[in-house]
Symmetry: D4
């Protein structure tokens, strides 16, 4: 039951066309429907200005195109993650503005870019092989209206590379730190800054790295305060959470 | 917002005392409260005739007594699991009808026992050390109004013990099969009967039994159809699910 | 030793053609054969009205056809799970009535459909990628003579979708709830209904989902009573157990 | 080398008392000391207004008192986590203003409370046994200058309790969601709000909950966006990260 | 149905007192009872000359005494494993011949020792901390009628100790090799002999030995042929299996 | 230092051509070489009458042919496991008597078959998908000179199939029991016989079978005595150990 | 800020061209840059005489060529590990001196070989399938200027092969011991020598070897002192650490 | 066969008192005894100047005293690890020079201290709770004749503490780096120095640190070259390996 219908019901009660008892019964049975339009509202406010997102893995190009069309009917922008080139080409045919972010394996369609917020999301990664996950975070945070700065290949084995960035890092509002192998980078970064750090373990590594478990455990056990963690390789999740955090600074920044 | 209040609001709209628009706003903001009373209803029907249950582990005797008082204000019966003797004695002082089921480490207060349903819940266990878990299932199913039959120490290493029960097992409506170590019993039982089998792994065993994981995995991988599994040592969960299943037979049995 | 042979032996004893002692010895040595025919009986009653089932993974199309022929010699219907299109085509040549359920990757041959029972098996799944597993449950429950209702894509991240189904869910006799990732859906559903809930974890997810382990553990640890669990992706097992449960309601429903 | 010393060196060079080459050598060898005072500065700004924190586990009461004295020499406030009553009594003797938060097993000494920021940190927990972890988060966020609102015992098995809080939850700046067992609550909450959600798994549960691993995995695999995770039982870490996030909103809120 | 009853039935048929058809029905329904006496027979032959065994862990002294009495009513000898001194003292009061094997934590009551077989069971262990498990194997094999030779503290880090035993080891019929830590000993031993080697991992070790898992995995992955493995610390299981193997040599040795 | 060289040295000492001191030094430095010829002897006796074995996985056809040629220069027979058809064809060209055992994925070259021993190795498997592993055991035991009897598809879900074999099983000298999924079969078999049972877990199964870990754990935790375990899918290891055990019976059987 | 710039600044202060306060500010803000040139120095000394290393996995041939060009601009030699033949061919075109080490899957470009140090790095491996990992260690140690001796296929199942090498092993400065399956070799070797042993587990094995975890755990739990461990299959890491250790002997050997 | 006996045999051959053939036979049968004295020699050279070591865990005070007496009969010094105060007091009574290292839980008896070698073993640890493990390494390296320098509480969350030590660290011959939680310190240290780094994970941490597994995995997956790893909490193993490495530098340093 959407708002107009509810309004009509109440007016009908008011106008005596529907007795109170029948309306009561209808309202009770429709309680969920009341929530239903609340959900729409809530969700609209929830995602205001954010593109809807498609996770492409396990979907055919045709399916992705169909979902993209459904989303873009009511939205200006679109983000699709874990997207193959083949899927991109199919979406490109339907939406000429589609753009492929090869390193991130992400696709975006931006008809009306969001204005950039005031803060900065810093995205760091430890090694060059972590870049795809970092880029997924970058593309996500970018399309959601955030300024993003990238600091790649600043792993702890050459700690001075990281230290030379110290001042720049202090300027970021929120930091996403991507690392595989021993996953030590977020601990070091969180020791240098006083901002929230979102750690992203990657499946980079071999032997007893267990597809990222070693890095994940390291990050969960970080000796530095202020670190929270997302799932292995989940660059999108980190970018999304960083955007929510950064928007707090923005929303209140006037 | 409970029913009387909602009724009054609608009458007020009908009587012109509350304009439709204000009622609309109130209803929207109270949608959850509509659910709230639904919850009460739903829950009442959900748990009709079932005792509320307290999981005592990690609660002090005093806390358990307090919760028991709250429950027994509106319920006839009470089940408390993982209950120490000390806690039992505290509850006994408050409710003289409290009874301690030592093997099951469970406490019951039964002011008005539920009438027994028609079907039978069979509870089997593999070894004598599995009995506490089996007994928790028995006490749970019993207080929820089910006839329970017990078949203990019928492990697969002496398969004939089990086979000699074949006909009796075929009479059960639902079977709870409790086993530790290699957890093979549910597979064998499910191959003998055509009724739902609820498997309960126990933490009995040593070495690579991993506190019941070996048995749990065995049960999840059962080669026999009709087996579903609950958590390690979760006799209560098995008894509860068995009661829900047995009540299906009962509800429809006239 | 089948029944005619046993009857003959007893008549021979009765007619004095076989002394009691020799018969005693023969019976003792043949005790297993007695069981052997009991097995046939038991199994016939066990599977009465149920199709035999072939698990196709690791079998060649030719092997599946051969098994199918053996089954359909004595059965009206057949279910084959984890069936490739290639295997389906081979079976189709032998049994023109063979039908392929693409989403479920299941094959059925139904020469004489079972009459539908009274209750309803509700099959819910959290996301669209869980659908293959849900469909395997649907096909299984359907061919075993159950009415099935499907509620797909009702994951907990948009809880209102689920809540809007509340009344319908309360009508089901038994619910199969399929979910990957964090596997939270069965807990929420079991909190809403008073019927048995069979939880099916799926291998959907990435990173630390461990091919469904995360969902499996979540379901085993459900805070809601009445949940039992089957193995990861085991839609067939859930459908089979649900049918056993639903048949309880049916058997007794007159 | 602190600032005065560095200033003196440069003046000595300027005044010709120290040749440039010797100063060069000294500066190179002391480069780390430069960092050293930078560290002090950085740390001062990093922790501005935040109490230093002692993790008491594995430390004797005497050791904790000694560390507390060192901290309170330069700080107004102090937080100590995982603190036994015995340790509290020892600290109380040294600092009469010491206060014990029993549920959180935390100790605070507040000589000059921080002014409260504008936003709100909401702390939810699923069951009553999760409360100690939730309280650790509450005490942490509180002493760091945040307004905290608590919503306890709102687990997903009775989803309506949670839904009835919907509007309040939407008012929070950042949400900490604490849950053991199947760890489903953060996914449901993150589906209802558009704010960052920090999920805290607890070791509550038994059997295959593996001391919180089940809940941890569930949270890492959350199907809802915006969820980040801290280590099992790490209420402090969640409170600290929430404070960093909430301070973003505050810092910019004028 | 025991033998006398069956004999009577057949005589009744023979004597015309029971018609063949009724006997047929009775026999079918009692098939399991036929098995029942077969079980007794089978078990008697199965365990001929072997003492019954009590696993004491989790049983009270009183319970152990009661079981011991039941066993010794029909058996000459008794073995009880994982037996505390307290339990031993209780059994000693009932059976003055009870003997406690402290290192093995085992209790034996031997009223009529079995004659020793011809072959030899060699029991090796890697370190002195593995001795309790080795001794459990020794006591088990000994009471079951085997000659046992012990070679302790012959771990692979000082390989020459082992090599100096080479000729003696070649004389054994079956070898039990007990080792914790890296569990390498069985591989080395199996490379030196041409007899069956039963490997027993122990929970000796710390850190990543995982209570014996490291040794267990090493043994399962042995590069030497002829190694089979029992559970962690399962000295009894190894002794029992070794006795079964050694009895093969004995049974046929004339 | 081989035997002739050692003999010469001693004769040189005896004949005064080498002083005792120099011989002492030489002997000390060559102590290992003494072992070296002992190794040859030991190994010859160790493997007397047994074919050498090639594990083909990870070797090219050319490499396997080369190793086969080296072995068959000094041996009558050859066994190669995990052998592809392509490798077989390459070996076939070099050794026309080469035979491929398709189900076992094994290759044998038998120029002079070993005479069969007196005992019997029984090989059981639970399901048809376990057959390849069972066949590897069969081929191994067979070429090593053992009579083998096969009992396939006797899984515990239809326990009567197994029970009908009871008497035959009692005739075996040693039993190899192969099972995947829940791995319950060895426990049931070991409860029926009084002979050594070698359990072989297979990687058959899906979901939480973890490539055979579930079955492996079940077998290690068997409640039946007399069970020892080999690695997952290690049919060869089971066949080899069974042959060692069976040869004990044989060696002593006259 | 490199050395010349720093020198100029100090001279400017000395010459009065830059006031001390401005220099102070500049130095503070550049503290990191001071470290920056220290890093260059440190790294130059760190890697003096060592080739830079490229890990090729996950890099395209073109990327590897590009990195190789960057490295060889300032270095005489180059090592690239996990290198495909295709990548080798691409590098070969750019650097005709490139050489492919097929067994090690490594590529080297050596324009000016390092002079060999005095000590010896011994590389042992257990089986022929461990050779690729061993060879990676060999190539690494060799290009870093170490004499390397190889002892392959000396697994513990035929312990005498290893013992016959005893004297040679005692001559090595540091030993790398590579083994899969049960990973027992390093323990035996470390018991024979008094030099550091670096253990390298390999993913060789099947069933419960878990891709090398069994061997890794065995090595971490070695009962022999002096063993340290690198990651599974990490031949490069072992070779690199062995070179660092061997260089200690060399650096000090005059 | 020890050296005198062997000498006598050779002289007997030389003197014609023992024919060569009989000596040959004797030598072959005694080959192991030859090894036996070689072992003594080898071990004497192996442990030259090193104290024998007792691992006290699981041994009674009386047992430790007895072993200590055996060792000190032939050795000047003794190290005992994991030693309780009670055990220390017992040893102290027997050896008044016994000294207890409380932090390390180690006991030493030093009658004739070894002269210190030239190099330095640096021992770093991340947090104060890692100190016991670090101290075990210190005591071990110290008694084995090494100069040890300690750098405690230099964890990566305050990276500047570590960096300020840079020059001192470069002076060490070998570095032991002890860390729990996320185990990041060895990676950072190995990036700063060009010497071997031995990483020691500790069981410090909670939640998903799994008793040190998180740190262990991090160290095995270190992105910095030159890191090798010992078992969790194995300070002794690290100290021992470091001493072997440091002695290389010493042995060759003149």
């Amino acid at each position: 039951m959407n708002e107009p219908k509810l309004r009509k019901l109440l007016h009908d009660v008011h106008g005596g066309r529907v007795p109170a008892d029948r309306a009561l019964k209808q309202l009770k049975s429709l309680a969920i429907h009341d929530l239903d339009f609340a959900r729409v509202d809530g969700h609209r406010s929830l995602r205001k200005g954010f593109p809807e997102v498609i996770y492409c893995e396990g979907k055919t190009p045709a399916q992705v195109v169909k979902i993209a069309q459904a989303i873009l009917r009511h939205n200006d922008n679109l983000l699709a993650t874990r997207c193959s080139k083949e899927t991109f080409r199919a979406v490109k045919r339907a939406f000429p503005k589609a753009k492929y972010h090869e390193a991130a394996r992400a696709l975006t369609v931006v008809h009306k870019p969001l204005p950039k917020r005031g803060g900065t999301v810093a995205v760091l990664c430890a090694g060059t092989t972590d870049i795809p996950v970092a880029e997924e975070a970058v593309v996500t945070a970018d399309i959601m209206g955030n300024r993003v700065k990238k600091y790649y290949d600043v792993g702890v084995a050459g700690i001075h590379r990281l230290l030379s960035l110290n001042e720049e890092l202090l300027d970021a509002t929120v930091l996403i730190v991507v690392a595989g192998m021993e996953g030590a980078l977020p601990s070091v970064v969180a020791g240098l800054v006083d901002k929230p750090v979102i750690a992203v373990p990657t499946s980079v590594g071999y032997g007893a790295s267990f597809g990222g478990i070693a890095a994940l455990l390291a990050m969960l056990n970080s000796c530095a305060s202020g670190v929270t963690v997302v799932n292995i390789n989940n660059g999108f999740g980190a970018g999304y959470a960083a955007s929510l955090i950064n928007s707090l600074a923005t929303v209140n920044s006037h």
